[in-house]
C-alpha cells in the first residue's frame, strides 16, 4: 500500500542526468566514470561467466539448429529452417510432443492436487500428525537414481511388488514398463512421487501462513469447510500455487533422470519426452543440428507456457 506512493514521490523528485548544470559537469562526469568502472570491475566476473556458460551456448544452439552436423558434430551444410520443418512433420517427433504434453499435464495436475491434499491433511490438528509430516516430505531427500531403483523394483515383471500384489488378489498382472500406456502411467506415478515431497513442504508452509482467524471468522458465519477451502484457502495460497505450478511445469518439461533409468524413452517411444529425445539425438546419435533445433523448440515452448501461466494466473494471484 505504501509502494505506489513512494514510487510517485521518487518520480517527482527524480532529475534527469542530462539537466546537469554546466558548473558541475566535470566533477559529475569523473565521478560517474569511476562508478561505471567500479560497476564493471565487480560485474565483470559474473558477466564473463554468464557469457561463457549461458549466452554463448544459447546462441550456438540457435546457430547449430540451422545446420546439418557431420559425424564429429561440426556444422557442415546450412539448411535454413529445414530442421524445423522436418521435425514438425515427423510423426515420431509429434508423437514425442504429444507424450510430453500428456506427461507434463498429468504430472503437474497430480503433483499439485496430491501435494495440496497431503498438505491439507498434515495441517489438521490430529495426534501424531508430525510423523506423517515427516513421511510426506520424505521424498525430498530421495535422489532420482534411488527413486528409479525403488520404482523399477515395484514395477518389475517377475518379482515386482505391484504384480505380486495383483497375483495375491487375483487381478490381471500388468506389464508396467513394456506396454506403452502403462509405461507412461508408471513414469508419471514415479515422477509425481518424486515431486510430492517438495510440493508438500511448500504447500504445507503456505497453509500454515494463512491466519487462523480467517477460518474462525468463516466458521462463526456458518461457512462450510468445502466453501472455506475453495474461497479462503485456495485464494490465500494462490501465489504459492502459482509458483509451484510453474516450477512443476518447467521441471516436468525437463524430466530426464527417471525416464532414462526406467524406460529409456520406450516402449514404442511412449515415454520418449522431448528432453530425452534431445539427449538421444545429441549424445547418442551425435546429431547436434537436429538436437539443437529440438532444444530451441522446447525452450520456446517452455517460455510460451510460462508466459501464458503468468498472464492467466497473474490476475488471480496478485492481491
Amino acid at each position: 500500500m505504501d509502494a505506489p506512493i513512494t514510487n510517485k514521490q521518487s518520480q517527482t523528485h527524480y532529475k534527469p542526468k542530462g539537466n546537469k548544470k554546466p558548473l558541475t559537469v566535470g566533477l559529475s562526469y569523473k565521478k560517474e566514470l569511476r562508478e561505471r568502472l567500479y560497476a564493471l570491475v565487480f560485474l565483470g566476473p559474473s558477466l564473463l561467466i554468464l557469457t561463457i556458460f549461458v549466452f554463448f551456448p544459447m546462441l550456438r544452439t540457435l546457430y547449430l539448429s540451422f545446420f546439418l552436423t557431420n559425424s564429429v558434430g561440426k556444422p557442415t551444410v546450412f539448411i535454413g529452417l529445414q530442421n524445423y520443418f522436418s521435425l514438425l512433420t515427423s510423426t515420431a517427433y509429434l508423437h514425442s510432443l504429444q507424450a510430453t504434453f500428456i506427461y507434463v499435464i498429468a504430472v503437474s495436475c497430480l503433483t499439485l492436487v496430491l501435494g495440496l491434499l497431503l498438505a491439507q491433511t498434515a495441517s489438521q490438528k490430529i495426534r501424531g500428525i508430525s510423523f506423517f509430516r515427516t513421511v510426506f516430505s520424505g521424498t525430498m531427500g530421495v535422489s532420482v537414481s534411488v527413486a528409479a531403483i525403488f520404482w523399477l523394483f515395484m514395477f518389475n515383471p517377475s518379482v515386482g511388488l505391484l504384480d505380486q500384489l495383483a497375483n495375491l488378489f487375483h487381478l490381471p498382472v500388468i506389464n508396467w514398463l513394456t506396454q506403452p500406456g502403462w509405461a507412461m502411467t508408471a513414469v508419471v506415478i514415479s515422477t509425481v512421487w518424486m515431486n510430492l515431497g517438495f510440493t508438500f513442504l511448500i504447500f504445507f508452509g503456505a497453509l500454515q501462513s494463512v491466519p487462523t482467524t480467517f477460518y474462525e471468522a468463516a466458521q462463526i458465519e456458518g461457512v462450510s469447510k468445502r466453501y472455506q477451502f475453495f474461497h479462503i484457502t485456495l485464494p490465500m495460497i494462490s501465489p504459492t500455487l502459482f509458483f509451484v505450478s510453474i516450477i512443476t511445469l518447467i521441471e516436468s518439461f525437463k524430466s530426464f533422470g527417471l525416464i532414462d533409468l526406467m524406460t529409456a524413452g520406450g516402449p514404442d517411444n511412449a515415454t520418449n519426452l522431448l528432453v530425452y529425445r534431445i539427449y538421444q539425438d545429441a549424445f547418442l546419435s551425435g546429431n547436434y543440428g537436429l538436437a539443437s533445433t529440438e532444444s530451441v523448440i522446447l525452450a520456446l515452448m517452455i517460455a510460451f507456457f510460462t508466459f501464458i501461466q503468468f498472464k492467466v494466473l497473474e490476475k488471480r494471484v496478485n492481491y
Binding site: S71, V72, G73, P157, P180, N269, S285, N287
Partner: protein
C-alpha cells in the same frame, strides 16, 4: 575517505591474489611428474570384472617393459565415450589409445582422427591370421584393419537344462531353427502349467541385426556398407519379417516374455531366468560368467537360432575395439600399438575370456590351461567360441559399416516394441525403414 579507498583496494588485491593461487594450483596439476617413461593414455568403458581384469593387464604391461606407462581412464558408457573422443581430439586431454563400441566404427573411421592399426600390422609384419577372422572383418574397410577387436561377444541362446529335464522336454539342438525354439518354448510353458515362460528376446537392435546376419541378409545396401557408403536400409526383407512374425506367434501363444528394452530389461530378463521363471533367452555370450556364477540349475547354450529351411549364415560380433589416435607423436602411437599387441597375446586373451565371458580372439587361446579348465567345469561355455570359430566372414555377417547405427538401433527397437505390443509386422517395419532411410540421407548429406 582515503582509508575507505585503501580498504577497498586491499580487498580487490586479496581477491586477485586468491584467483592467482587457484590458477597456479590448477596448472600445477597438469605439469607432468618427472618420469622418463612415455605416457600412454588409455580410455576404456569397462565395468565390473572386465574393468578389474583390464586394470590387471595394464599393470602387467607396465611391469613387462620400461619404455611406456599406460594410464587407464574410465570414460562412462559407450555412447558417452564416443562423444568425448570426438570432442577432445587434438587437445591434450585426448587419449592415445581408446576403446570404442562396435557400431561407432564407421563414425570413428570417418572422423579421420585415428591411425589404422593396419599401419603397425604391416610395419611389424604382425600375424593377424591368429585373430578371429569374423572379429577382424567387423573392424576393417577395404581389406585394411582400422582398429583391433578387443572385448568381443556373440549372441547365443541360453536355456535352463535342468528345467527342461524336469518337464521331460528334449533340449534344442546346438544349431536351432526358429521352430525348434518354438517347440521348446511352448512345451515348457504348457507343461509348467503356464508358470514358466518359454522364451524371451530382449528388444535390442543388436539382436535384430543378428537375425538378419544369421539369415544372410544385408541390413544396409552397398553390401552392409562394406562396398561403399550405404544409401538405404532394408528392414522389410524376408529375414526381418519372418523373425518378427515368429516372435509375434510366440507372444500370441503366451509362452513369450517381453522384458522390454533398456538396461532394466536385460537385468529383469537375467533375474527371471535365474529364478527359474524363464526357460530360454537370446543374449550376449558375455553374460556367461554372470550366469554360471548365479545359477543353481544346469546351463545350456546353443548357437543363435536361424530361420527354418535354410542354413545359418553365422552371426557377427558385438563389443568394442581398440583405436590409436593420430593426434599423438609416433612414439606415443607406437606405445599404444605395443599395448594392443600385449592384450592380444594368447594367454592374455584366454585369461580375458575366463574372467569376463568375452571371447578369446587369439586362436591359440583355446589351448591355454585357464580356458581348458573353464570348459571342463562348464562344457556349454565352449559353444560361443565354437560359433565364432565356425563362421566364415562374409559381407552380411561382418557388421554394418554405416554411420548412424545408434539411430538404426533406436528405430528398430521402436519397431520391435510396436510388434511385441501387437502391431502389424509389415507396417511397423516399413515405418522404421522409411524413418531410417530419411535419416541416412541427411547423414550422408552432412558428411559429404
Amino acid at each position: 575517505m582515503k582509508k575507505i579507498k585503501n580498504f577497498r583496494y586491499r580487498h580487490l588485491l586479496l581477491l586477485f591474489s586468491l584467483c592467482a593461487v587457484i590458477l597456479s594450483a590448477l596448472t600445477g596439476c597438469t605439469s607432468a611428474k618427472a618420469d622418463s617413461r612415455i605416457q600412454i593414455t588409455f580410455w576404456h568403458e569397462m565395468t565390473g570384472p572386465a574393468q578389474v581384469q583390464l586394470t590387471k593387464f595394464v599393470k602387467e604391461f607396465n611391469q613387462s617393459q620400461h619404455k611406456y606407462t599406460v594410464v587407464p581412464q574410465f570414460e562412462g558408457n559407450y555412447n558417452e565415450a564416443v562423444q568425448k573422443i570426438l570432442n577432445t581430439h587434438g587437445t591434450s586431454a585426448s587419449p592415445a589409445v581408446f576403446q570404442s563400441m562396435d557400431i561407432s566404427t564407421s563414425q570413428i573411421y570417418s572422423s579421420g582422427y585415428t591411425t589404422p592399426v593396419q599401419k603397425f600390422i604391416t610395419a611389424d609384419n604382425y600375424d593377424v591370421s591368429k585373430i578371429s577372422a569374423v572379429a577382424r572383418a567387423f573392424y576393417s574397410k577395404n581389406g585394411q584393419q582400422l582398429s583391433m577387436p578387443f572385448n568381443t561377444s556373440q549372441p547365443v541362446l541360453y536355456y535352463n537344462a535342468t528345467l527342461l529335464k524336469k518337464y521331460g522336454i528334449t533340449p534344442p539342438p546346438v544349431d536351432p531353427s526358429y521352430s525348434d525354439i518354438t517347440r521348446v518354448a511352448q512345451q515348457l510353458y504348457e507343461r509348467s502349467g503356464k508358470k514358466v515362460k518359454g522364451l524371451s528376446v530382449e528388444i535390442y537392435g543388436w539382436l535384430f541385426e543378428q537375425f538378419l546376419a544369421n539369415a544372410g541378409e544385408s541390413l544396409a545396401n552397398n553390401q552392409d556398407g562394406h562396398a561403399g557408403t550405404p544409401t538405404a536400409v532394408n528392414f522389410t526383407g524376408t529375414a526381418a519379417t519372418t523373425t518378427m512374425k515368429w516372435i509375434q506367434e510366440n507372444i500370441k501363444h503366451g509362452s513369450f516374455m517381453n522384458y522390454g528394452s533398456g538396461t532394466s530389461a536385460s537385468a529383469n530378463e537375467m533375474a527371471g531366468f535365474l529364478s527359474g521363471k524363464l526357460g530360454m533367452f537370446l543374449q550376449s555370450s558375455a553374460d556367461i560368467s554372470q550366469l554360471t556364477a548365479g545359477m543353481k540349475d544346469q546351463l545350456g547354450i546353443t548357437y543363435y537360432p536361424h530361420p527354418d529351411g535354410q542354413k545359418s549364415n553365422g552371426v557377427s560380433i558385438g563389443g568394442a575395439s581398440l583405436w590409436i589416435s593420430n593426434d599423438k607423436s609416433t612414439t606415443v602411437q607406437r606405445g599404444a600399438w605395443e599395448f594392443i599387441k600385449y592384450l592380444m597375446k594368447s594367454q592374455n586373451q584366454a585369461a580375458w575370456q575366463a574372467a569376463t565371458g568375452y571371447l578369446a580372439l587369439n586362436k591359440d587361446s583355446q589351448n591355454e590351461p585357464v580356458l581348458q579348465k573353464l570348459y571342463q567345469k562348464t562344457p556349454a561355455a565352449k559353444i560361443p567360441s565354437q560359433q565364432l570359430a565356425r563362421t566364415t566372414p562374409n559381407n552380411t555377417n561382418s557388421g554394418i559399416f554405416m554411420q548412424g547405427l545408434i539411430q538404426e538401433r533406436t528405430i528398430t527397437q521402436t519397431a520391435m516394441e510396436q510388434i511385441y505390443n501387437g502391431k502389424n509386422v509389415t507396417s511397423a517395419l516399413q515405418d522404421a525403414e522409411k524413418q531410417m532411410n530419411s535419416y541416412v540421407q541427411t547423414t550422408n548429406k552432412a558428411n559429404k
